[in-house]
Amino acid sequence: MTSEGEDPRVRIQQLEQRLARQRRVLEEAENIAERATRDLYERIQELERIRVQLSEAKEQAERASQAKSAFLANMSHEIRTPLTAIIGLAYLTMRRAEDPRIRKNLSDIHESGNHLLGLVSDILDLSKLEADKIMLDDVDLAIDGVLERVSTMTAARAQSQGLEMAFSVAPEVPRQLRGDTVRLSQVLLNYVSNAIKFTERGEITVRVDLESQDADSVLLRFSVTDTGIGVAPEHLGRLFRPFEQIDNSDTRVHGGSGLGLAICRRLAERMGGAVGATSEVGRGSTFWFTARLHLSLRTAEFSPRQELEGRRVLVVDDNPTARTVISGLLSPFPVTVETAASGAEAVAHVVAAHQAGQPFHVLLLDWRMPELDGIATARRVRELVPHSSCPAVLLITAHGREEAIGAAAEAGIEVVISKPVTESSLVDSLVRAVSGREHPAGQPARDPARSAGVDDFTDALRGRRVLVVDDVPMNLEILRGLLEVAGCSVETADSGMEAVERVRRGGFDVVLMDIQMPVMDGVSATQEIKRTPGCERLPVIAITANVLEQDHQRYRASGIDDVLCKPVEPSMLYATVARHTPGVRRDPGTDPVAPAEPAVTLAPLFDVENALGFLGGNRELLVRTARMFIASNEHDVEPTLALLTAADLKTAARRFHRLKGSSAMLGCRRLTELSALLERELKAPEAKAPSAERLREFSAVMGQTMAVLRKHVEAAGT
């Protein structure tokens, strides 16, 4: 072996050889690098191809899953129809069955059927949500309205369990928003019903807070807190996932299909929010959700603030939570609120305030308090304080409203508020109470039924025995209220089935029947009634939100005697009931609404209060509706009259039907009654074109109505 560096020439040769080797290495490395780069490039290409394939596969899978959801939605719908029949028939057969074992079996079928129906409905809802088939409304809504709706639907149950319910809205939450009232209420209702279900004693608090706000929307947080059994922390996360809580421990806790909360979650997500819950076993839970709502463009026109400015209010309740909630509801308003924890304390306060020359203007009294109750407290105050500085008294009751109203009226208390107290009910009552104070000679508290022409019909209606059938308690209450004012005696049934039962027992002059009811709808119930011996001639008046004429014909064909559209306009209600119950107190030969009856022309052209009654007090909506009415009728009068001269009476009748409905909504009562009259005349068996005089009358009323509405719209516009 040669050792390095002996001979310079050898050394140079060696170095040259090494250099040459290194060059070749470099070249080879270069080639390898190039090959590797190309290789890499091809792999990236292939990865890209695979990625595209995967995303296509994913899309396909999603489409398939959507199709599945859509299929599920259709199926659930299809299943519901026969299921409803099964449930209804099981119930009917059960009522008739003699053998107790058969009765028991049928009752089980009925119960299971109902359970299944609930499950199917939930699946339908959920699959619609997952298939993105549910469109959310974006219309004006009032948060108080949503809470009120929820409270109306749950109050009875909460009361029957002896639970306190409190609703509160943080003062910074804007009251006028846009969103989907129905869906918002659905979620909240689900939470509140659950809370009631799992709370044996204590209270349920519903809060609305402002999470965040930007230029055109707010994120609201709705939370429902109960003092119930609570949920173990490890179960909390699963509650909102569909089907997951269907294991033994959880169905026991949550009942139903277990889909309710999953539906809530989807809905909240659709509303740009989220859901969640916190809980402590044995102490209670808080379920919350958030939803993004748009700020309404309209500004509140009605300002209770002014009416309430500077008023002094004393809140009297033995329950500290109730005191806090009510004071809280009043905090956005410029009123001075003080509280008292008992009747005696309240009396002392009022007397002291009177002596100090700073009398209270309003006394908010809880009815049921130990020792001195609300009514006794009011009496004591009246005895001790001179009339001039006696506060207006508002009685708050968690118990039977009717009972309270009776007792309160005896004690001279005008206003009764039912618990749960919401801001709007409280503020409305307060405003009414204080403005009543200021104008002692002024008009008595307005009663919508009274202004709706009840006086014209009391004679015809007094003593009529009416059965009102509706599955929505609120509707029952409304109708009961309207009819009782007119002197009718009213009973209610909350299902078609119950209606049939009650009618069989006899004692009614007329039935007011809601059409859309679960289990047995109004049409089937009517058929059942008319098949019952002795009831064939009992008049049944349908009440429906359905305005399609062909459906009304279908109702009539099934034996229904007359159809009223929702919202039921009181004078229509009275007129219709009166027409179908010609009885003892009336001259047998007189038609209740005789043609050209002067009463028609006496009805007001435009009754704002009446219209607001239909439109939930929403003045902005009234203006918009009026505008729509003007726009759609401006060019409609001439053609309608032309139809009459062309003797196309059927089409004309339909026109008047429509006019009747739309004018009723607007409180244009003279037009409503006239249209109703015309429609009736045109539909009579031997109808002929109305007299020229009637047509002139119609043109005149129409013109006047339009003029009044235009004025109203213009006034609102400035």
């Binding site: 072996m1 040669t2 050792s3 390095e4 060696q14 050889q17 090494r18 080797r21 070749r24 290495v25 080879e28 490395a29 390898i32 590797a36």
Partner: protein, 182 residues
């Protein structure tokens, strides 16, 4: 054989004996001497270099390969520390050969023919490796095992009761490891 092995050999030789010796080995064996780590070169070229070294030193070829393996292992650790750092001892390290080290090698060097071993724990500090490869480089394996023991501060004693070079079907290496201090 992958170029990485040739490059390791070059390094080991130059480090121990200088560049002139490497030049001479190349010249004598007729090997090209241009190796890149990712390239593949004939096994004979490696064996030729080993034979040349054997001739120059008068040592058997096996001994040369073993020496190379032992010296190469610390260099492998420098290049691939991840294979080593999770272990404190030689046996657990060797036991990752089939599952981790050589599979990774095959991915890093496309076309690499790294062997799989049969393992048997014959005692707490004893491991038997069964080796069968057409390359028949059990001597290299022995060297790599010694090198690994060096890396973990241990000493390996290896016996080969069976060897392909003696007509057996496979080679069996019985390795005992002890801490280098004792």
């Amino acid at each position: 054989m992958k170029g990485i092995i040739f490059i390791l050999l070059e390094k080991v030789v130059i480090e121990a004996h200088g560049e002139g010796v490497w030049d001479a080995l190349l010249e004598k064996s007729g090997a090209s001497g241009t190796y890149t780590s990712l390239g593949s070169y004939p096994d004979e070229e490696l064996l030729g270099l080993v034979a040349a070294a054997s001739e120059a030193t008068g040592r058997p070829q096996g001994e040369i390969l073993t020496w190379f393996g032992r010296k190469a292992m610390p260099l492998l650790r420098e290049r691939y520390p991840d294979f080593f750092t999770r272990h404190q001892q030689t046996i657990p390290f060797i036991l990752t050969l089939n599952e981790i080290i050589h599979p990774e090698v095959r991915k890093l060097y496309p076309g690499a023919e790294a062997p799989d071993f049969g393992f048997r724990r014959s005692g707490p500090n004893e491991l038997e490796l069964e080796y069968r490869s057409k390359k028949k480089m059990c001597a290299l394996a022995e060297g790599l095992i010694h090198g690994a023991a060096d890396v973990f501060g241990e000493k390996a004693v290896i016996e080969q009761p069976r060897c392909m070079h003696r007509g057996d079907e496979s080679c069996l290496m019985v390795c005992r490891f002890e801490s280098a201090a004792s």
